[in-house]
């Protein structure tokens, strides 16, 4: 067994570098306290978008960063989550909290379905397949009359704020806390994953599939597991997003732009690192929202030009993302004996 792994397993989870614990707890307290300072709704929206995109990027990070497989159609799972809650709420009045797990399961099921044939092969096949899947989902939902075809679904508004229907019209603070909780929970899930046996095996699969195979790690099974976990993290964000904007249509929730931004955030922040998506989202989402305010409305797609440019520049100069500017020993565990 890997020496690092033995060390990691032999230590309790919380006995990490004090600086990390301090950083995380301050961040969490700050984020929980933030709405108390009376942020206006634009800033609340900004933070909600940051949390949402950080979770989505975190999900992409699991498949791309940990197991090294590029998915270019991750928007599909986002859309499945969004449609699952909205459809059941509109048709049967089922609370989004109940249908959200259903969306997660469906996402996981599709991930297994796609992953079994595709993940046995080298990465290019998977990347192309996911690109096709992302667009196929959009095409199917555009033509599927049961779920409103191209005009999408309009979630009926409840007269007042309601936790069971997950709708809050008076202020965005409740949305803020819901997204924040999901953000923190996902962070810890992925963090635990990255330090678990599974995480180490996934990284072994990424770095050297042959060597991993020789250690009796079933390479394709682990890739599929990573893909399923990643899809399941993505789906609830779609559900919450649908409840947040209350109108969904195939061009919005299955848009290839979702797959692009998720990829971009992770690569910008640092791929394969739990902090990467958070750094990426907190830099990119403000840029995107502000560019939408100052440059938007012209149909010019200026933010997309920026995304493409940033992606290429990062790939050329900093393939490890912005996290690589941070000295390693700050975030790493204390030096082992």
């Amino acid at each position: 067994m890997d020496n690092k792994l033995i060390i990691a397993k032999s230590e309790p989870l919380w006995n990490t570098n004090n600086r990390v614990v301090f950083l995380i707890s301050t961040l969490i307290i700050l984020l929980f306290a933030l709405p108390l300072f009376g942020l206006n709704s634009f800033y609340l929206h900004l933070f909600i978008m940051i949390f949402m995109h950080a979770v989505m990027a975190q999900s992409w990070n699991v498949i791309a960063g940990f197991s090294g497989q590029i998915s270019l159609g991750h928007g599909a799972f986002f859309g499945i989550g969004a449609y699952a809650t909205s459809f059941f709420y509109i048709e049967y009045g089922i609370s989004p909290w109940v249908s959200m797990p259903f969306g997660i399961l469906v996402s996981g099921f599709f991930a297994v379905l796609i992953g079994i044939p595709m993940l046995r092969l080298s990465g290019h096949y998977f990347a192309i397949a996911t690109l096709l899947i992302g667009i196929s989902f959009q095409v199917v939902f555009q033509r599927w009359d049961l779920v409103g075809a191209a005009s999408g679904l309009w979630v009926p508004m409840t007269p007042e704020d309601s936790w069971s229907a997950l709708q809050f019209h008076s202020s965005k603070v409740s949305y803020y806390y819901i997204f924040l909780v999901f953000f923190i929970v996902t962070f810890f899930i992925v963090w635990l994953l990255s330090r678990s046996k599974l995480g180490y095996r996934l990284r072994a699969v990424r770095d050297d599939p042959q060597a991993a195979l020789s250690l009796c790690i079933n390479v394709s099974n682990y890739k599929i597991i990573a893909y399923v976990i990643s899809a399941m993290i993505m789906a609830p964000m779609g559900s919450l997003f649908a409840q947040y904007i209350l109108i969904i249509d195939p061009d919005r929730v299955f848009n290839i732009e979702i797959s692009i931004i998720v990829l971009l955030i992770t690569v910008l922040g640092g791929i394969g690192n739990v902090w990467g998506p958070i750094i990426g989202a907190s830099i990119l989402i403000p840029i995107s929202e502000y560019s939408r305010i100052y440059l938007g409305g012209t149909g010019g797609a200026v933010d997309l030009i920026l995304y493409g440019l940033i992606l290429m520049i990062i790939c050329i100069f900093r393939p490890d993302g912005l996290i690589s500017f941070v000295p390693k020993d700050i975030l790493n565990r204390k030096k082992q004996r």
Binding site: H124, L132, V140, L264, V267, I271, G308, L311, M312
Partner: protein, 288 residues
């Protein structure tokens, strides 16, 4: 459903298939050479269609006559792409390579959207118009000429790669770039040539399609997807495989559209991709 309609669909599919084959050949050449999938291939196709369109709209040059200019422009574009982007990511991880060309595709597409707006355009009254009637089958003249030109270009590409000295040098670099360098073949130059030829193929296809296809900024996505499937079906890096794969995809697309439902064309092609990947992952003519 009469046999005439089916025959018609087969002819249409065949003609589209030849175009897909040439687009895929460019992709396959680049992949075979440096194992990089050009995810911006569709956007390069879009650029070549726009180059043809602007040469027509600004200088009154018919797409048929502007083909050489389009090819040169695209070849130049390929060299630039290699020089400014691909050169730096040759040794990077596959993940970074995919992200980089994907970033290039977003960049080109949105720049085009900013400059030219997402409007649909087409070339008005091109030299090639109208249709031929052979028996009961109607063939659009521009489509016919486009597919024939693509076929000729494909044969030319194949002969170039297998018969000429530069072509053999390309193959040598594709097989083992270090051994080729020892033999005095500069791999960097070969990569640049590969990109120039790969995008030159796209220039031919795009220039010919500008005759009859709508020209808009998202036009490349579907063609690129079909080209990816064709490359996987033919076998990554095999040029002759692209010809068969392109024709198969063209036929499946048009027959599937006729017999089942035309709005799900992409899904039929996707189904082919799945079948190939499951049962013959190395493709029809693949080396791997």
């Amino acid at each position: 459903m009469t046999s005439e309609i089916i025959l018609q669909a087969i002819v249409t599919g065949l003609m589209m298939g030849l175009i897909y084959a040439l687009i895929a050949a460019g992709l396959s050449l680049i992949f075979g050479l440096m194992e990089i999938v050009n995810f911006a291939h569709g956007e390069h196709l879009m650029l070549s269609m726009f180059s043809s369109f602007w040469l027509w709209s600004l200088f009154g040059l018919d797409p048929i006559f502007s083909i050489p200019i389009t090819i040169l422009l695209m070849a130049f574009c390929g060299v630039i792409t290699h020089y400014f982007l691909i050169r730096y990511i040759l040794k990077a991880k596959m993940l970074i390579q995919i992200c980089a060309t994907f970033g290039l595709s977003i960049f080109i597409r949105s720049i085009a959207q900013l400059l030219w707006t997402p409007d649909f355009r087409n070339v008005d009254k091109p030299l090639l118009e109208g249709r031929l009637e052979i028996g009961s089958v109607f063939i659009g003249q521009p489509q016919l000429v486009a597919s024939l030109v693509c076929l000729v270009a494909f044969i030319g590409l194949y002969l170039f790669v297998t018969k000429t000295e530069t072509g053999l040098a390309l193959q040598a670099t594709a097989q083992d770039r270090h051994a080729a360098e020892i033999l005095g073949i500069p791999s960097n130059k070969m990569f640049a040539i590969g990109w120039a030829i790969g995008l030159g193929c796209v220039g031919v296809a795009g220039g010919m399609m500008a005759n009859y296809f709508f020209i808009f900024t998202d036009v490349g996505i579907n063609f690129a997807l079909f080209a990816f499937v064709a490359v996987a079906l033919g076998g990554f890096g095999s040029i002759i495989g692209c010809l068969y794969a392109g024709i198969i995809i063209g036929l499946v697309e048009s027959l599937g559209g006729l017999l089942i439902d035309p709005s799900f064309k992409l899904l039929y092609v996707f189904a082919i991709y799945l079948l190939v990947v499951i049962y013959r992952p190395q493709g029809l003519f693949g080396r791997y």
